[in-house]
């Protein structure tokens, strides 16, 4: 599913894969966001080298690609953890303690404010509304949506995604 993050510099194999992805698209400015989405879905973030190639392909200055890549929340320019945890901070989730859930998730996963845990297992991000407001508070881990969260249940949910050897128990 979500594989190990790609770290710079990129290998030849990765670069060829990236070129393969780029070739599927026409050199039209309107394709920029679909290209970025496709690259991100393969590499789980947007490596700088690939963004520079996209700039060359579309004949625009790198500054413009950089602007688009940093503007939209779903893109990441930094390698992400194996599991993407998105805690919903929509209004319904907020009034049911969403912010506190986010803080607990950050602590439990070790991601903290920086977003990614040092062991690269988890990246934690707030999102604004997953559209499951009736079941607040909600969070999504990879493709699974977890509803009716409580602070006490966070550790159990996070543990489900840890590699077997390293489950956390006891007090935080």
């Amino acid at each position: 599913m979500f594989g190990a993050p790609t770290r710079l510099p990129m290998t030849q194999v990765e670069l060829e894969k990236a070129d393969g992805i780029l070739e599927q698209f026409e050199d039209a400015r309107g394709n920029l966001i679909p290209i970025l989405q496709e690259v991100q879905s393969h590499f789980y973030y947007l490596p700088e080298e690939i963004l520079r190639r996209i700039a060359r392909k579309l004949h625009v200055p790198a500054a413009q690609i950089y602007q688009v890549a940093t503007f939209y929340r779903c893109f990441s320019l930094k390698p992400r953890g194996k599991h993407l945890v998105q805690v919903c901070l929509g209004t319904a989730c907020h009034v049911r303690g969403g912010q506190r859930i986010l803080e607990r998730v950050e602590t439990e996963t070790g991601a903290g404010a920086s977003g990614t845990s040092p062991d690269f297992e988890f990246t934690v991000e707030p999102v604004r509304c997953l559209g499951c407001c009736a079941l607040a508070p909600v969070m999504r881990v990879d493709r699974d949506t977890v509803a009716h969260l409580e602070i006490g249940k966070v550790r159990g949910v996070v543990n489900r995604y840890r590699p077997k050897a390293r489950k956390e128990t006891g007090n935080v």
Binding site: G30, Q37, R73, F75, T91, A92, G131, C132, A147
Partner: protein, 639 residues
């Protein structure tokens, strides 16, 4: 769906598809439906569906098993419906795989009605106006199970947009046609002129359902007048308001309604290409829409020469990339063009110069879904519903501190009180209802004293809020209005595109001042400052996001000024929410020393021996509230 689809070239082909569809929609064997929209899946519907399928297969039962969309009863998900020929459809709520298996096994003898929450003796079809009864002559009610028309949550609802949601299997085109789908398109392309369609839409009084409420007929007429080509139609599915998921539900549960609406719109306005823009955060909606478009193309209803009329229209899906501001028309267009979602000043309006500089009409998902009904029943029929200025129905997501949360559709003009108390069933026991927040971050809070207000565009605006896209969040006395203003400002600060100074800097400064107040460091002059700054941001910003950004502050200041004053003068948060102003303690009378709170405390601040009184060490308490949530003995107190 990999079978080759027969082409739908004329009304006979449609009728044949309808017949096929009715066989699975109203079969003569029992059928089990599982609600598989995103909120159903989030509640565990996938495991329930697997369990049902497995049980049916293992026992070789002659039952159909199918997925369906959302009937709107979100608080009871996962939902399982059992169709019994001649007897109607029974809805079971809060299903688990084990219970679902028991129901499947018991269909002929024991229906486990103790788990049933509703019974459908038939259905209303907005497209035809007809009621289809499911009953044969000698069958009446199920004991103890209320009929939908008697359930307060559903009694007042009028399902026009949501006509098929929760009734059909969204991936089944034949079922959509069996409910009258694509017949409006056929009539339009073979027997109506484009101007007639625009006339019906104008007479219907339909106003943009994305929130702005611009008359749809007027927009279409303006697009028709444009000479430049190609003309584009866009469906705005960038539902960014937190608390709103009507569009997601429609796209997942009845994608063809939107497609048919857009083809009709293209024929009326002369557009040749369409885009359905869906938020990236809605993967299921994207998937279902892609599937539906592929089916429609295979059937010949998209592409060239639809129904042999010579008219051609193409549709594609574009995914958003995580930017609330892209719900704004011009920012959405910029996003499709591969640019950052920075709104452009208007004039020129998109109808004149939109996507790639060409005439473009953007309408919300719900607006498009209404079109087939307006064409089929006529604009005058639609205008007979609602109030003088706000016609038709509106979907709302009723969420927050209310007993019946879910997706509803009601005629315009119904009062907030009827929605909150009758449909919503009021707030949980022991609490007092305080306000209803509508319109998302661009909207405001309407206090309980104003609940006799009719829900329509003008009344809500006059009360200091807006209709918005349909998010309706009920708040009780455990919600702090200063905290709510702070929350929305934080949201807008992140989501502002940042181009114009007033919005970028203004939302930051507003948040700064409100945060200070919530921390007990506010000053009396701060209220005047908030009002001045709100006036500036409202009147000087470039786009709708900035212009409505101060609404949360303005409406809470208008109706809940005493809460702000309490934070400023007494340094108290009456609702006990603002962290710097509250303290958690443990009641020595009720605490029994079970230690459950120690396990969840994030600051390791609770000390105590087993079976003895536990104490919170204030210096280490992070006010996270985990102990309050966990304690089963109500021993945790908040001051």
């Amino acid at each position: 769906m990999s079978d080759p689809r027969p082409l739908l070239r004329n009304v006979d082909d449609l009728a044949a598809a309808a017949t096929r569809g009715r066989k699975t929609l109203y079969p003569d064997h029992p059928k089990i439906l599982v609600g598989m929209a995103t909120c159903g899946q989030a509640a565990g519907a996938t495991e329930v569906l697997d369990a049902v399928r497995e049980e049916v297969e293992r026992n070789g039962l002659p039952y159909l098993v199918a997925e369906t969309g959302c009937i709107g009863w979100c608080g009871q998900e996962p939902l399982v419906d059992v169709w019994l020929p001649g007897r109607g459809r029974v809805t079971y709520g809060r299903m688990k795989p084990g219970r679902a298996r028991q129901i499947v096994r018991g269909i002929s003898e024991d229906l486990k009605l103790e788990w049933a929450i509703g019974w459908m003796p038939g259905d209303e079809n907005a497209l035809s106006g007809k009621w289809t009864s499911y009953l044969d002559s000698h069958n009446g009610q199920f004991k103890g199970v209320p009929a939908y028309r008697d359930i307060p949550m559903f009694r007042r609802q009028m399902r026009v947009v949501l006509r098929n949601s929760g009734l059909i299997t969204p991936q089944n085109l034949d079922e959509y046609i069996a409910r009258g789908g694509y017949f409006a398109l056929h009539r339009a392309l073979t027997a109506m002129q484009p101007e007639e369609i625009i006339d019906h839409v104008t007479r219907s009084g339909l106003r943009g359902r994305g929130g702005a409420g611009f008359p749809t007929g007027k927009k279409w007429a303006a697009l028709r007048r444009q000479r430049a080509t190609p003309k584009y139609l866009i469906c705005n599915g960038d539902e960014g308001d937190p608390g709103a998921y009507m569009d997601r539900t429609e796209l997942e549960s009845d994608p063809h309604a939107v497609i048919e609406g857009m083809i009709l719109g293209a024929y009326a306005t002369g557009a040749s290409e369409g885009i359905i823009y869906v938020r990236e955060e809605y993967p299921l909606a994207v998937a279902r829409m892609l599937e539906a478009i592929a089916q429609t193309e295979a059937a010949g209803l998209l592409g060239a020469d639809i129904f042999g009329s010579g008219f051609a229209f193409r549709l594609r899906v574009v995914k958003g990339a995580g930017a609330f501001v892209c719900g704004e028309e011009t920012a959405l267009i910029a996003s499709v063009e591969g640019r950052v979602g920075e709104p452009r000043p208007r004039p020129p309006f998109p109808v004149e110069k939109g996507l790639w500089g060409k005439p473009t009409c953007i309408n919300n998902v719900e607006t498009w879904a209404n079109i087939p009904v307006i064409v089929m029943r006529g604009g005058d029929w639609y205008a007979s519903i609602g109030t003088a200025t706000s016609k038709g129905t509106k979907t709302f997501c009723l969420v927050g501190q209310v007993n019946n949360t879910g997706l509803i559709e009601v005629p315009m003009g119904i009062t907030l009180r009827e929605i909150v108390e009758e449909i919503g069933g009021g707030v949980p026991k022991g609490r007092r209802v305080k306000a209803v927040q509508t319109g998302g971050p661009s909207g405001g809070c309407v206090p309980a004293e104003q609940f006799d207000l009719p829900v329509d565009y003008e009344s809500l605006t006059k009360a200091g809020s807006i209709m918005g896209s349909g998010g309706m969040i009920v708040m009780d006395n455990s919600t702090c209005m200063v905290d709510i203003a702070k929350y929305f400002l934080g949201f807008l600060q992140d989501e502002s595109c940042g181009k114009c100074f007033t919005c970028r800097e203004g939302t930051q400064r507003l948040r700064e001042v409100v945060t200070r107040i919530s921390e007990g460091k506010g000053r009396e002059e701060d209220l005047a400052l908030l009002e001045d700054l709100s006036w500036l941001v409202k009147n000087a910003s470039l786009c709708g996001l900035g212009q409505t950004a101060p609404n949360s502050v303005l409406s809470t200041l208008r109706y809940f000024r005493e809460e702000y004053l309490a934070h400023i003068r007494e340094r108290k948060c009456p609702a006990k929410v603002c962290r710097e102003l509250i303290t958690f303690t443990i009641d020595p009378v009720t605490c029994n020393g079970c230690g459950a709170c120690v396990q969840v405390c994030s600051g390791q601040a609770i000390l105590g021996e087993k079976k003895k009184l536990h104490v919170i060490e204030q210096a280490r308490c992070t006010k996270c509230g985990a102990c309050l949530e966990t304690c089963k003995f109500d021993a945790v107190l908040v001051h």
